[in-house]
């Protein structure tokens, strides 16, 4: 059963930018592409909380803000608890008649370090309490703002500056933390994955996340030009391949029911995704096959279809 769509094509997206020009993200930044769309989906009636990270740094050097909406950076590990306070305050101040009663979307937009690692506890607490807010994780799969260090979201085998490739150890030896599944196990009403290569899918999910009652979570894969060791022009191409290889499946979980939103009838081999990125350049065929086997297994359990 497909849900009603808020946006059918790109033409339905507002032209107005709420994450505006003049931000200092790297040339070709996948995160910036995602945030532009995320803000178009949310609209101006919101309060955005961002933890420390690339997004905070590139969008807020005084006096140049890239935000057309109210925006608050507090610290690295607590976007979800700050959002809890914002939501609670809006609720009580509207109830007491201090603020006019209207829906103001409370949205945390965070990186993977601020979500799956240091901000994990605050997020879990806020989800359990059931605050009416949307949490959007921009996953570039490492601590990019500090210079490409491994996070819990860094994939198996990837080189980072703290998962070096040497004779004894070859990149990250652990698998990526499955954050959407962990979030979904809180039993919240809406969880989704998205990526900027599929902008219409992304904006519909973000819109659903902010419209739904209660907490919602969207996990967005956002390629990083310097961190993934890719040329600046292929961030979208790489994001698309992450989906087409089954490495990053696009789905949503509404009231516990998972639906694939982008079907991949002929899954490509993971090497098509891996070979474009310098962070995987050291991988042997054997290591690539190990990744392929795991992706096959996960794709099968999601019903993503066989490899081409």
């Amino acid at each position: 059963m497909s849900e009603e769509k808020y946006f059918k094509t790109l033409k339905d997206l507002p032209k107005e930018e709420l994450f505006v020009q003049g931000h200092r993200a790297c040339s070709g930044c996948g995160e910036a592409i995602a945030v532009r769309h995320i803000m178009k989906a949310i609209g101006p009636n919101c309060i955005v909380i961002s933890p420390t990270g690339c997004l905070e740094v590139v969008s807020s050097p005084y006096p140049y803000t890239s935000w057309a909406v109210p925006w608050y950076h507090v610290a690295f590990e607590n976007a979800a608890s700050v959002a809890s306070g914002v939501e609670a305050a809006l609720k009580v101040l509207m109830r007491k008649g201090v603020l006019e009663k209207k829906k103001i979307h409370v949205v945390a937009i965070a990186g993977d370090g601020g979500t799956v690692d240091i901000g994990f506890q605050a997020l879990s607490g806020a989800l359990e309490r059931g605050h009416g807010f949307a949490y959007i994780c921009l996953d570039n799969e490492a601590y990019m703002n500090t210079g490409i260090q491994r996070s819990g979201a860094t994939p198996y085998g990837a080189w980072t500056t703290t998962s070096a490739v040497g004779k004894a150890i070859r990149g990250k030896v652990q698998w990526k933390k499955n954050m959407p599944a962990i979030v979904a196990s809180h039993g919240i009403p809406y969880v989704a994955t998205a990526c900027p290569a599929y902008p219409v899918d992304l904006v519909n999910k973000v819109k659903r996340a902010v419209e739904i009652e209660g907490p919602a979570y969207v996990h967005v894969l956002t390629p990083c030009v310097p961190g993934w060791r890719i040329p600046s022009n292929i961030s979208i191409k790489v994001a698309r391949l992450a989906v087409q290889t089954g490495i990053f499946p696009l789905y949503e979980i509404k009231d516990g029911k998972l639906t694939l939103t982008v079907k991949v009838p002929k899954r490509k081999h993971v090497k098509e995704y891996l070979k474009l990125q310098g962070r995987f350049a050291h991988l042997t065929d054997e290591e690539i096959e190990k990744i392929q086997e795991r992706v096959d297994r996960e794709s099968e359990s999601l019903g993503l279809g066989p490899r081409a």
Partner: protein, 390 residues
């Protein structure tokens, strides 16, 4: 009409918070603070207080939630102690730096290790430089009054800083005492039901909060905070005067006891001042000219007032329930020594570190330390740990 009731000191704070008509409470349990938020939970559950009660998953999130709510314009309260305060350490600086008028009660507790639920003042002293206004209360009446005043001071447009109301774990928190409380109408006259704020997070006027602090603005930002907290002393005194007119209870930066003709004074903060007063009385009975200064305001520190009130003394015996390992005695001792540095003629200032981890400071111990100072006994480095078994 003023109403006299009996309350546990923790519950006196809860009552003040209810009368302050707070909007958001962030609650996380930690001994010896928990009674405050338990009573607030009852108020909210009974519909006596219309507030959002957020059961946060840590003290770090308690302060974070207050920061978020306060930025929207809500009146916020939380309470903590010891390890909880240490866990929110990072957020304390942000609450102050972002100029959010949050009020917090701190049931002062010893910091680990070893895990100790008992009182001393090492928790707040480890966070003394966080930019908060810091006050210390001794009894139910005082903590009730200080809590109400804290909201008014914090939200004053000339201040806009968070306020911590400190009171000693167990020695004060769990004691039932009688106190006179204000009626709701009196509180409403003293504390406007709504706070005003120039900027709040709201889509009608989009503002960017917490921009990255490039070196071009960071010095000016920090200096703003320094000016704000230094200037807050004037407002604090003004609020205390006004509160005195309403309640008949007048407060000041410290409270002297038998000081006028004293040669030596004990100086300290918090609940042990009650014991120290008895020691002073007994010493007076022996004909020794000893007085007490109960320090109430630690930040901003009342340097000038203190010097003015004590420069006639032969000696000051400063009792700290905290110390700075590898530093120069206790934190109050350090401040008091600095206050007098530029004076040509000044009292001898001696530091005593006592009452750590909930160890009681007895009347005879207070008498002993005062007599030691009166006799002019030499104390190496001018400060000493009391109560240590050799």
């Amino acid at each position: 009409m003023a109403k006299r009731i009996a309350l546990e000191c923790s519950h006196a704070i809860s009552l003040a918070v209810k009368l302050a008509n707070v909007d958001v409470i962030a609650a996380y349990p930690i001994t010896p603070q928990t009674h405050i938020v338990e009573r607030l939970s009852e108020y909210v559950a009974d519909g006596e207080l219309d507030a959002e009660y957020i059961n946060v998953e840590s003290e770090h999130s308690a302060m974070s939630a207050c920061i978020g709510a306060s930025a929207v314009g809500a009146r916020c309260f939380t309470a903590t102690a010891g390890q909880g305060l240490a866990l929110m350490h990072e957020m304390l600086f942000i609450a102050a730096g972002n100029r959010l008028p949050i009020v917090m009660a701190v049931a002062n507790r010893c910091l680990s290790p070893n895990l100790s639920i008992w009182g001393d003042q090492s928790d707040m002293m480890a966070s003394k430089d966080c930019g908060w206004i810091q006050m210390y209360g001794e009894n139910a009446q005082e903590v009730f009054d200080l809590t109400l005043q804290a909201f008014r001071i914090a939200e004053d447009e000339r201040v806009l800083l968070p306020v911590a109301v400190n009171f000693d774990g167990f020695y004060v928190t769990h004691v039932i005492e009688s106190l006179t409380v204000l009626e709701q109408e009196e509180v409403n006259r003293f504390l406007p039901p709504r706070r005003k704020a120039k900027y709040t997070l709201h889509p009608d006027n989009p503002t960017t909060w917490g921009p990255i602090g490039l070196p071009d603005i960071q010095t000016e930002l920090k200096y703003q905070l320094e000016k704000a907290i230094q200037n807050s002393k004037k407002v604090i005194k003004e609020v205390w005067r006004e509160y005195g007119e309403i309640s008949g209870r007048y407060y000041d930066v410290f409270e002297p006891y038998r000081l006028e003709d004293a040669e030596v004074a004990i100086l300290m903060m918090g609940g042990h001042c009650g014991t120290a007063r008895i020691a002073v009385d007994r010493l007076r009975e022996k004909g020794l000219k000893v007085g007490l200064i109960k320090l109430r305001l630690f930040r901003p520190f009342p340097f000038e007032e203190l010097v003015e009130a004590t420069k006639h003394l032969k000696a000051l015996a400063v009792v700290d329930k905290a110390f700075s390992p590898g530093g120069f005695g206790g934190p109050i001792f350090s401040e008091v020594r600095s206050a007098f540095y530029d004076l040509d003629v000044k009292p001898r200032i001696v530091g005593f570190i006592a009452g750590l981890g909930g160890r009681d400071i007895r009347v005879d111990e207070f008498m002993g330390l005062a007599e030691k100072v009166l006799r002019g006994e030499k104390i190496e480095k001018n400060y000493v740990f009391l109560q240590v078994r050799e």
